[in-house]
Symmetry: C2
Subunit: 246 residues, 2 copies
């Protein structure tokens, strides 16, 4: 299988699709050129491991395209996805050179990478970039804590509906009906939701039976009425914030 997306490697930061949402969002002019010099793109195919838990991680970076999962596991092999990385999300931790989670490409994925040392220097030199990273980290923290409520207190049906709402809000490609390609297999969905594959499958079927969603092949979902799906998620559509989660 040949390397994909190599053409992206020649792109200037100023042309980057995630330019205004990633760590680099607040950079301009000379800073952007410095980043263009530092960066390199690399791609993985769906299913490939990007980093193993506990392995050295000599780079940090941003997701340009695709979707990757962060997974923690118990010693006896039970796994929990603790985060999804979507375009513009940041991977890696300044000040720590070992990965705290296993990172796997859920779909074909391209990352924009910086060597850790160069990135740390950039952060130290550029306070507004450090501040951007702080804000992004705090958004991640809020998202992680929101997900703790899902894991700890929601029923299987609410969990599945919650995930579908999140995905539809992030990656829907049409309106009326909303349509999206799920970036996750049933197994990954189960691992993210603290459920089994079978339970996820049954709840998907049940939501289709209730007329709340439609299914197209393995990965496609449709939704005519996001409000109804949000109600299944245990969220009052009137109360809910309309912005996608951070």
């Amino acid at each position: 299988m040949s390397r994909i997306d190599l053409d992206l490697a020649t792109q200037a930061c100023s042309e980057c699709p995630i330019r205004h949402r990633a760590v680099c969002a607040s950079c301009e002019g000379a800073e952007l050129e410095r980043l263009t010099e530092m960066k390199s793109y690399r791609s993985w195919r769906a299913g490939e491991t990007i980093v193993l838990e506990g392995a050295p991680l000599p780079f940090v970076g941003s997701v340009v395209t695709g979707c990757a999962t962060l997974t923690r596991s118990t010693e006896d092999g039970r796994a929990q996805i603790v985060g999804l990385l979507m375009p513009s999300d940041f991977l890696g931790r300044p000040g720590r050179d070992v990965a705290a989670y296993e990172v796997v490409a859920a779909t074909d994925t391209t990352l924009c990478l910086f060597r850790r040392s160069a990135f740390e220097r950039m952060i130290a030199d550029t306070p507004h970039m450090a501040r951007r990273l702080l804000d992004m980290s705090l958004d991640e923290l809020d998202a992680a804590r929101d997900w703790m409520l899902v894991l700890g207190r929601r029923t299987a049906r609410e969990k599945v509906a919650t995930l579908l709402v999140n995905i539809l809000r992030r990656v829907a490609t049409s309106h009326r009906p909303l349509r999206a390609e799920l970036p996750l297999t049933r197994e990954a969905m189960a691992t993210y939701l603290g459920l089994t594959i079978e339970t996820v499958s049954r709840q998907m079927t049940a939501l289709r039976g209730a007329g709340v969603i439609g299914l197209e092949g393995r990965r496609g979902i449709l939704c005519d009425d996001l409000g109804a799906l949000m109600a299944e998620a245990g969220v009052d559509p009137a109360t809910a914030t309309l912005t996608p989660d951070a």
Copy 2:
């Protein structure tokens, strides 16, 4: 009931018990004096609400003594504790003036508070303090994600044992046997673990029956063999890191 701990209000930062672990850890000399000018202490009794979810939060600060819980709830009232704040932990979010969680004092609690605006200026002026806040936030993020694995994949017994291990490591007051006063009621433990009170109670009794812990009144726990308790938590004591979690 009269205000407690008012004497702490006169303390200089250089004498503060959390001086070397809180956001201010990297501050010295003039910076520390600036903080001393800015800060004020305030105390709450066990059970009192510090902030309501969604309410304006005009301050940020650090826990000096005691323990507070962060809680998120569903619309129909199911609650999940998404974080514990122990001495030196930071409360509030720079750049956001509304609380994302309900904050409740689990025990009598004293906070060191800064007005948000003054603190934001301090952060902007003092890069190493911004960096300290970033590192603390990333530690919180790792802790939240670790807890996601607990909520999503561990059994009731493992959950209870995990919580007891964490508490013993943070607040044990003696060795052989380790002894601690639980900062949480059974209800708070259940809300933290994604369980019911009854299940927590049964698992505590079962762990005592297995000889892994001892119980002293409502809040006291003893542990002769932390390794055995860690084994109940589903953690190999040999593999585990020996430092308390961040």
